[in-house]
């Protein structure tokens, strides 16, 4: 390649940047030299092309989509739709050498509107180096050395997702959520899907109906209910080995809507029996001590969710005659109405889930006989409605505390959707016959034990 080609490309790039920017939401493009991340201002992000190869191309595509779905960046669409045009290579060099140092065209990336650029390039030992460039600062922000990537390996996508999450962390200080998965129910069976909608896998027994999947905080196990001749025991499933065990005190009764304490030692769950519907806890770590937290009498209590400090449990109670969000200590003390309630105004409320940062609770509530997603600020108990299109229910938090997955009927059938609460951007995760009861995993780290 000769300099004149690069200059031409630069001209094209600059010429098309304006058009590309118009396709997305308006973003202030002030002077942002030496940028530090500010909430509300989305930095421009460019994923560069480079050496071709199945693993490298797949990795670039996955990383670019992950960064897009993080909703943290204004993704730069490359001119001509071909990332190869921007391959990093010293001008005038004809052959690849081991001592090759990438030529980084900061002015070009800046002209394209990028504040950051990501380069994925191979090392001679077939390991991969991922570099994050700070474009205005003209420096390397972060460099990750990755063992060789094999696209055929089972964990390939998850490994690439972890790289994307590290890039997000290098920019925002908080890792992304690409290395997460979502459990949901389709036609009675539990499925698992990657955060980007890839790799849908059935987990529970085909032919038996399952409900209420939740993640263990370790991200490698799940608990769910599976119908067994009119009763519903809870099972713990090891997602890596497929081994499953029944939760002892749930044999022989109808149990559902479980929730883990944040340390993973205690399981809270709902039981419906001849005494009504109430919340129980069981110590999984010591395999003992079934404890009944609520005694409903004529009201039902269900759907517990722990605060991140493990001290409190929000849940649903029918005590006021309407189903409403209640709160109590994790030992069952101090039960009181949590989300403000006005008779005839606050609709039936269900399925609360405490946010990972502890600041909010998401739930669904009926508005004009249609359920919608709401988020309540735990501090001031102000309730905010997030959805209005179709029926929307069963919200579940991403570990970043800014994304929620939920069930929506907006396209005609119930599917899992994801909303970014900061930008309002919504995307559809599942496209199946129907999907319901989603549960978003914590960040899934490599298993250590």
């Amino acid at each position: 390649m000769k300099p004149p080609f690069w200059l031409g490309l630069l001209a094209i790039a600059v010429g098309t940047t304006g058009a590309a920017a118009q396709d997305t939401t308006v973003v202030e493009r002030g002077v942002r030299i030496g940028i530090t991340y500010e909430p509300g201002v989305r930095p421009g992000m460019l994923v560069l092309g480079g050496e071709r190869g199945t693993a490298l191309d797949s990795a670039r595509t996955i990383i670019a989509r992950d960064l897009d779905y993080s909703d943290e960046f204004e993704m730069i669409a490359l001119p001509l739709g071909d990332s190869l045009s921007l391959r990093i290579r010293p001008v005038g060099e004809d052959s690849y050498t081991a001592s090759f140092v990438p030529y980084v065209n900061y002015p070009l990336y800046a002209a394209l509107g990028a504040d950051f650029a990501v380069n994925v390039h191979p090392e001679t030992d077939s390991s991969v180096i991922v570099t994050l460039y700070d474009v205005p600062g003209e420096t390397v922000r972060r460099e990750l050395r990755i063992p060789p990537l094999n696209p055929a390996a089972r964990d390939f996508r998850l490994r690439v997702h972890r790289i994307a999450d590290e890039i997000v962390r290098a920019v925002t200080g908080v890792p992304g959520i690409a290395a997460t998965q979502i459990l949901f129910i389709n036609a009675g069976r539990i499925y698992r899907v990657d955060f980007d909608g890839h790799t849908i896998q059935g987990l529970s027994t085909p032919g038996l109906a399952a409900m209420s999947p939740v993640w263990h905080p370790d991200g490698h196990r799940a608990v769910f209910m599976e119908w067994l001749e009119g009763i519903g025991p809870l099972y713990m499933l090891d997602l890596d080995t497929g081994r499953r065990e029944v939760i002892a005190p749930t044999v022989g009764s109808l149990n559902y809507a479980p929730a883990f304490s944040p340390d993973g030692t205690t399981l809270a769950f709902t039981r419906s029996d001849s005494e009504g519907t109430d919340i129980y806890t069981y110590n999984l770590a010591d395999d003992c001590c079934l404890q009944r937290l609520t005694v409903g009498g004529f009201s039902d209590n269900l759907s517990p969710t722990f605060s991140p400090d493990g001290q409190r449990i929000a849940y649903v109670s029918t005590r006021p005659g309407y189903t409403q969000i209640y709160i109590m200590g994790s030992d069952g003390t101090g039960q009181e109405l949590f989300a403000p309630f006005a008779y005839g105004v606050s609709g039936e409320s269900h399925a609360p889930e405490w946010s990972p940062d502890g600041l909010s609770i998401a739930f669904d509530r009926y508005v004009s006989k249609v359920s919608q997603i709401f988020v309540m600020d735990v501090g001031n108990r102000v309730v905010r409605q997030l959805t209005s299109l179709g029926r929307n229910s069963d919200p579940t938090w991403a570990p970043d505390g800014r994304h929620l997955a939920f069930v929506s009927s907006r396209t005609g059938s119930n599917q899992v959707w994801i909303i970014d609460m900061e930008t309002g951007r919504v995307r559809q995760l599942t496209r199946l016959g129907e999907a319901r009861l989603p549960a978003w995993s914590p960040r899934i780290a490599e298993r250590t034990n």
Partner: protein
Amino acid sequence: MRHILPISAGLVVVVIAVACGGGPPPPPPGPDPDSLAAAQAEQRRQDSIAAARQAEQDSILRVRQRIQAEERRAQEDSIANVRAETNRVRDALARRVHFDFDRSNVRPEDAVILDQKLAILQGNPSLQIQVTGHCDERGSDEYNLALGNRRALAAKRYLTDRGIAESRIMTSSMGEERPLAMGGNEAAWAQNRRDEFTILSGGDELRMPGM
């Protein structure tokens, strides 16, 4: 028919006597013909007595078999009756009760259905049943399990309040998981908001109480 018996036995004797009384056989040479004839007559008498006894035995056997067949038929008829009654009771037991949206109180028009079940439970003391509550598709999936449970408990409470032992009625809920009618309209929803009643034990032979 028992009085025919001696007559038929007598007939047999006459018939045998006539058959044997035809043309005297040529006297065999040797022993005294008189004593031989006497012996033969005695033999014929013995044979006819044996034949009459045999006929009597056979007729008794035939009558016994007929009586047994009649008894068997009567028994089968009564089994069929019991079975038919049991089926009627089962049908009455299986009759569903329905509920208003998001409600679990027994509707006045459905109380009569539960009254019939009450009578059946009273008239069949070994009968144990299960009540399963169901919901329509609206409302949270998990909340509907609680609502279905409440509907099952409402029917149970109706029966136990009127003297049926708690231990005879099990309850469960399927929430909205087993709709009877498909379709997102009130006609389908109304059918799906229901309690179903099934027999757990003691339902092999059921009596319909007089009512």
